[in-house]
Symmetry: C2
Subunit: 207 residues, 2 copies
């Protein structure tokens, strides 16, 4: 059984492409059932269409409130029978109505080693703090920003002379590895959440 | 010119031994001019004496206050003409009187990737948070706990089934590498602090 995965993005969606590539080569037992954007101009939407994937654009400006917009998005995801939601550069905070519609089934990637540097401009925060190691985090989304249980992290060095851009590029390479690996593990292993830890069982499940 | 380094410890001082080994093999242009403990029973004191290093025990219970104790410690460090202070498992918070006596010349190592998990039981904090990557941080000491400018960090994986002890052991291996490297860089490179970043110049200084 393949898991039905929807992707939400606002830009080029490079993490979407990394997930899609891993799925296409059979590394993840999933199929992408919808690529949804809140921005018509998102390059990731065009990439999805070129790959023959179902796409949908729901501009957030057309809804009277965050909740109203999220209700439309949740309805579209339900219509596509999506089981898992992967955020891939989706520049919208999710309202509780969204998070509660897919408990423990929404994944996000963040460009820092959480709990360090949540929020916007994580790479800039890391540089200004003077850390020598940063990285990325794939986590389940809960109702707090960049907070939910952590599935996968990868470290990268911060180098002298790094700019926000050079650090972001180095982290992005690891995001493209960590995100497919996180989804693969969640779909192929038995796991549960203890406290705020994602605990994987040793043996693989049938799925 | 060798830098005059004092070590402060409360226990076995494994990081002291790592620093001493690096100094002894000529990797760091420094000499240890004093090993000081607040605990008479500290195994690190015995190791220091066996290595022929000057040792001093100043039990903190003998001073009427934290400041009074730190004034005695600072006086002993001054008497030894110490230029740099390396904390190696020194289980005492430094009072401002201590920190201000050696501005930007006190180093500490902490078993997490700061700013994540400052304070006691950093490894337990990391396990309970469910991170997949942790590590250690060598930093200059300022007046806030586990807060000063970062000199060196090393990442380690957190594995399924890790206990506080197995994680602490894995991190400790990296502490023993990061601490000598941090001291070496500070003593052999030109550096300055910009904001809260330690910025090393590209070229080596004569020292």
């Amino acid at each position: 059984m393949k898991a039905r995965v929807a992707i939400l993005l606002s830009g080029r969606g490079s993490n979407f492409l990394a997930l899609q590539a891993a799925i296409a080569r059979g590394a993840i037992p999933a199929e992408i059932v919808l690529v949804l954007s809140n921005r018509k101009s998102a390059a990731g939407l065009r990439s999805a269409a070129e790959l023959g994937l179902p796409t949908l654009c729901l501009p957030h400006g057309e809804a009277p409130s965050r909740e109203a917009h999220d209700e439309r998005v949740v309805a579209a995801l339900a219509a596509a029978a999506a089981e898992w939601i992967c955020l891939a550069g989706y520049m919208r905070l999710l309202s509780p109505v969204f998070v509660r519609a897919f408990p423990r089934r929404i994944l996000n990637v963040h460009p820092s080693l959480l709990p360090a540097f949540p929020g916007l401009h994580a790479q800039r925060q890391a540089l200004e703090h003077g850390v020598r190691v940063s990285g990325c985090t794939v986590h389940l989304v809960d109702e707090e920003l960049d907070h939910g249980p952590i599935v996968e992290q990868r470290a990268v060095p911060v180098r002298s002379g790094d700019t926000e851009e050079t650090l972001a590029d180095r982290i992005l390479v690891q995001e493209h590895r960590a995100y497919p690996e996180a989804l693969r593990r969640l779909l192929t292993r038995r796991w549960t959440i203890v406290g705020r830890r994602v605990v994987f069982a040793r043996s693989r499940s049938a799925g």
